[in-house]
Symmetry: C2
């Protein structure tokens, strides 16, 4: 099993809270860590079922939130409509650029930005998470097909 480390964290977190270790929880953990990238609840559900697991939508939602609680998963609202979930990658802070129009997401890393933001956040009394910058823009495709907006003054 490829997620030993996270699994042990998870088990410990469950124990701490007096929560139970169920097969649904373990299987969801596995699936979330199976690959890199952002997934929504529905996609996760689909994949779980493809891999032959019986699990309900409600359980997926409930336990995704639990994984977020345990610090193993991050929950984003990058698309306009649904939440995206992504497992935490240790020591690999990264940020997101997402397209305002089509929702496509790409990741980037920038220590320079990170430290500038850190400073700014603290100045405002905020505590930034490690990977927390979301840039909105237009991807190449959408940029080409969209009209110009309000003139930015003279």
């Amino acid at each position: 099993m490829p997620v030993e480390y996270e699994r042990s964290i998870f088990l410990e977190a469950l124990r701490e809270r007096g929560m139970r270790v169920t097969s649904e929880r373990l299987v969801l953990l596995e699936e979330v860590f199976r690959q890199h990238g952002h997934l929504d609840a529905e996609q996760l559900l689909e994949r779980l079922r493809l891999h032959g697991h019986k699990i309900s939508r409600a359980t997926v939602y409930r336990n995704l939130d639990l994984l977020v609680e345990c610090g193993l998963v991050r929950k984003y609202r990058l698309g306009q409509d649904r939440f995206l979930f992504e497992h935490v990658h240790r020591g690999q802070a990264h940020n997101h650029i997402s397209c305002r129009e089509c929702g496509q997401v790409v990741e980037f890393v920038s220590p320079a930005i990170a430290s500038l933001l850190d400073e700014i956040c603290r100045a405002h009394g905020f505590e930034p998470d490690e990977n927390t910058v979301q840039v909105l823009g237009l991807c190449g495709i959408c940029a080409r097909s969209s009209r110009p907006r309000l003139a930015t003054a003279s």
Copy 2:
């Protein structure tokens, strides 16, 4: 009327599209520009009604999107649950830090970050909007009342 400039842009945009100038549209424009800050559709509706205007929720939603289309308003998903709208302030790019927990939003400006991002975005084929950086974190209050997350390795 304090929004002459935006009003004229709006009227022109409506004309261009063969759309009609209705009192609901004008009144919504006024309200959005009445003050700085982020408002959701519901708040806007409430304020419009407080100011004595009869307007339906559907019309507010429809015309907020229209104002976005016209480049007069920006639509964000800063909170987890609903969209926030903010009128465009000419020449004043700014970014948002929002609290993951309570949704509180503060703004900041950073030319240094802006230019770094510009570079990064272009490298990824994206065209960043002027004000597009959203940082997620915890505000002072929520940070204090929340438990520590996943240890960031040794």
